[in-house]
């Protein structure tokens, strides 16, 4: 089973329709072309679906980069 970052990278590639997109834990909105506040929501709901989890509004508001999102997903998966 691929690790969370690898799977999340696929989600990013799908959402931004860019097969060459590579993300790291440090990647944030300013690094990806088109990652605006609306695409952020699209990204979150696609990630929710891909990992079978659901985030709360405050969790989403606290995210600062890809690493935060990976942590959030992992904590949810381990808790669940």
């Amino acid at each position: 089973m691929p690790d969370t970052l690898t799977r999340l990278n696929e989600v990013f590639q799908q959402v931004f329709d860019d097969e060459d997109l590579e993300i790291t834990p440090e990647t944030s909105a300013k690094d990806v072309d088109g990652w605006d506040s609306l695409m952020h929501v699209t990204l979150i709901v696609n990630a929710e679906k891909a990992f079978g989890v659901k985030f709360t509004s405050s969790e989403v508001a606290a995210l600062k980069n890809v690493g935060d999102l990976v942590h959030l997903i992992d904590s949810r998966k381990h808790a669940g």
């Binding site: 959402v15 329709d17 609306l38």
Partner: protein, 620 residues
């Protein structure tokens, strides 16, 4: 790996290779087949928009502008993708969040205003405002009236969405619907704007849409707080489907023909094996379901949808239940064309289209057999194919889910259409027995009734302007206001043509609009000339032209200027003016062809119609 993942891998490869048109064709097929997740529809929509922005996917489409009191950004790709899959090429844009009037004002000043504006209210001000409830309802009403007025000025068609509630609120279920309650407020505003909305607009009742899906699935409250967009991902796609149906209703009009299979579609079982009385129909659980489906089809025909049969059967077997089974709801009189034989349905449906003289893109096909559906999909991609489930009790719902027959309003012509097509079968039989074409046309005893366009006909005229594609010389989609303005001009001509014959009344079949030329007041310029395809080949166009010549002479004109604006669909009339004796002029640009007729000494085209009320024999 899912087929959708495969699909997007291929589209991005095609994009890298610069083969965008192929990628778009794949997405059109995938959307038409359905089954993509909401996330994939979103992705498809964004791909299509980007590709079209880069010039792929054919000519400029219908320009649609979404204006909302909520964030419409997710509806833009969804409407794009759903429309694309249904052959409605629209270039969708959006306004800013809750800037409806500001954006409309800006659009009305632009040189290229949109063809359709979609207006989405949200209930925030209505439910949370501080003014008394009655004032809030009046405020919302006044707001949308202002929006319609600006839309009308720019000549855009209006798709007005209604208000909705997400939950009954603090009053609870019982009190919310009482006078002044939350849900009552929503319903009062909806009733008001439904009544006030401009003629010819489409009202999308959001309360019904969310109710059919279920509000708990349709809405996602988080999304409203995150981005001021209240719908779930599935909700966005569902709403987009209704928006596209509304756009169709406003532009091409609803689908016109419903083609039905017989065995296991109209009745249970195979009639060739069980005989006409052995099929499941009537007093059994599945028999009731088939009867319910027949009732639905019959109700569609009563509102103007033409029914046809395409069945692989021996012809006599296929007809027998209609003639002998007392549990049948549909009768052969409801059927405009029947193809019961062993040829592939891709072939027989094409023949039905020729017989009825209706475009295949106005066809919907229902068949229980997935293999037949697949054959039709591949043979005639423009036909809408309904994927009915195995359970016949679900047939009505599956057909309705496609929203194929949404319309802005019904006219008398719609209600009479099914009967007209049924008598058309008798006409065809007469044609087969008559000796010559002239004998046949004379034997029809056609009567023509030309009337100046009045208030009563205006809605029907605008409807025809909006949807007539084939016999339409200029395809100008005038709004009601455009037509009124033209009629108000001195020495203009705006007439409708009604035709009847010995078999029945065709109703209103033609519209002609002509105005004095801006360059030369002695020249009458034909702005619009369209005709319903069901009277083609009966010299109705010759009659119309003869009538036009007489009117123009009476009004003191010297010449008539005709114009042919080619589209993908109107090749039928490319040579109409040549046939009517007009002379082709050099046309300045390649986009239109101009014709002229010198009235002095002009001969009248030969036709076989008499003016209604006159006793004269047909002039031949």
């Amino acid at each position: 790996m899912s087929t959708a993942t495969e699909l997007f891998k291929r589209t991005s490869t095609l994009r890298k290779e610069g083969r965008l048109d192929e990628a778009l064709a794949m997405l059109r097929e995938a959307m038409a087949r359905g089954g993509l997740s909401p996330e994939e529809v979103d992705r498809a929509g964004r791909f299509i928009r980007k590709a079209r922005g880069e010039g792929a996917g054919g000519e400029a489409g219908l320009r649609v502008h979404l204006l909302g009191q909520f964030t419409t950004s997710w509806l833009v790709p969804a409407v794009t993708a759903v429309g694309w899959g249904q052959g409605i090429t629209s270039d969708v844009e959006e306004g800013g969040y809750d800037l409806v009037l500001q954006d409309l004002t800006r659009l009305s000043a632009s040189s290229e205003p949109p063809g359709v504006v979609v207006l989405f209210p949200w209930n925030n001000r209505l439910l949370n405002g501080s003014a008394p409830a009655g004032d809030r309802v009046a405020d919302e009403r006044a707001f949308w009236k202002q929006a319609w007025e600006i839309a009308g000025r720019m000549g855009a068609r209006v798709l007005q969405v209604g208000y909705d509630w997400m939950a009954p609120g603090a009053e609870g279920y019982a009190l919310a619907t009482e006078t002044g309650g939350t849900i009552d407020l929503i319903r009062s505003v909806n009733a008001a704007i439904r009544q006030d909305r401009p003629p010819g607009s489409y009202f999308l009742d959001l309360e019904l849409v969310s109710g059919m899906m279920g509000r708990e699935a349709f809405y996602d409250p988080r999304r409203y707080y995150w981005t001021k967009q209240p719908f779930s991902e599935r909700g966005v796609v569902r709403l987009a489907e209704h928006v596209v149906a509304g756009i169709r209703a406003l532009t091409t009009g609803p689908k016109k023909v419903l083609v039905l299979d017989l065995d296991n579609t109209l009745w249970g079982g195979v009639v060739g094996e069980t005989g006409p009385l052995g099929v499941a129909l009537g007093d059994s659980p599945d028999g009731e379901a088939y009867r319910a489906f027949q009732k639905h089809a019959r109700a569609l025909s009563k509102r103007g949808i033409v029914l046809a049969l395409a069945s692989k059967n021996n012809e006599a077997d296929g007809r027998e239940p209609f003639e002998k089974n007392p549990d049948m709801v549909l009768s052969l009189d409801d059927i405009a064309a029947a193809e019961i034989c062993w040829e592939p349905k891709g072939t027989t449906i094409r023949r039905i289209a020729q017989t009825l003289n209706l475009g295949l893109d106005s066809f919907v096909f229902v068949d229980d057999n997935p293999a037949e559906r697949e054959q039709v999909r591949q043979a005639i991609p423009e036909v809408a194919v309904v994927d009915v489930p195995v359970e016949p009790a679900e047939y009505v719902r599956a057909l309705q889910a496609g929203l194929w027959f949404e319309t802005t309003g019904l006219t008398d012509a719609d209600r009479e259409r099914a009967a007209q097509y049924a008598v058309e079968r008798q006409r065809r039989e007469l044609q087969e027995t008559a000796g010559s074409m002239e004998d046949y046309l004379r034997s029809l005893e056609m009567l023509a009734d030309v009337r100046e366009i009045d208030e009563a006909d205006l809605m029907r005229v605008v409807q025809l302007l909006g949807k007539t594609n084939q016999f339409n010389l200029t395809t100008r989609r005038h709004t009601r206001d455009d037509v009124v303005r033209m009629l108000d001009r001195p020495r203009s001509i705006g007439v409708t043509l009604r035709v009847e014959d010995r078999f029945g009344d065709h109703g209103l079949v033609g519209v002609l609009l002509a105005v004095p030329s801006d360059d030369d007041p002695q020249v009458l310029r034909v702005d619009t000339w369209l005709m319903s395809c069901r009277v083609i080949g009966r010299t109705v166009e010759e009659f119309t032209c003869a009538d036009l010549i007489e009117r123009a002479e009476r009004m003191g004109y010297r010449r008539i200027l005709g114009e042919f604006l080619p589209t993908k669909k109107n090749a039928l009339v490319a040579e109409l003016y040549d046939r009517m004796g007009f002379r082709q002029l050099d046309s300045g640009d390649g986009s239109s062809v101009l014709y002229e007729l010198e009235l002095a000494g002009a001969s009248r085209p030969v036709h076989y119609l008499s003016p209604k009320g006159a006793v004269a024999e047909p002039v031949g």
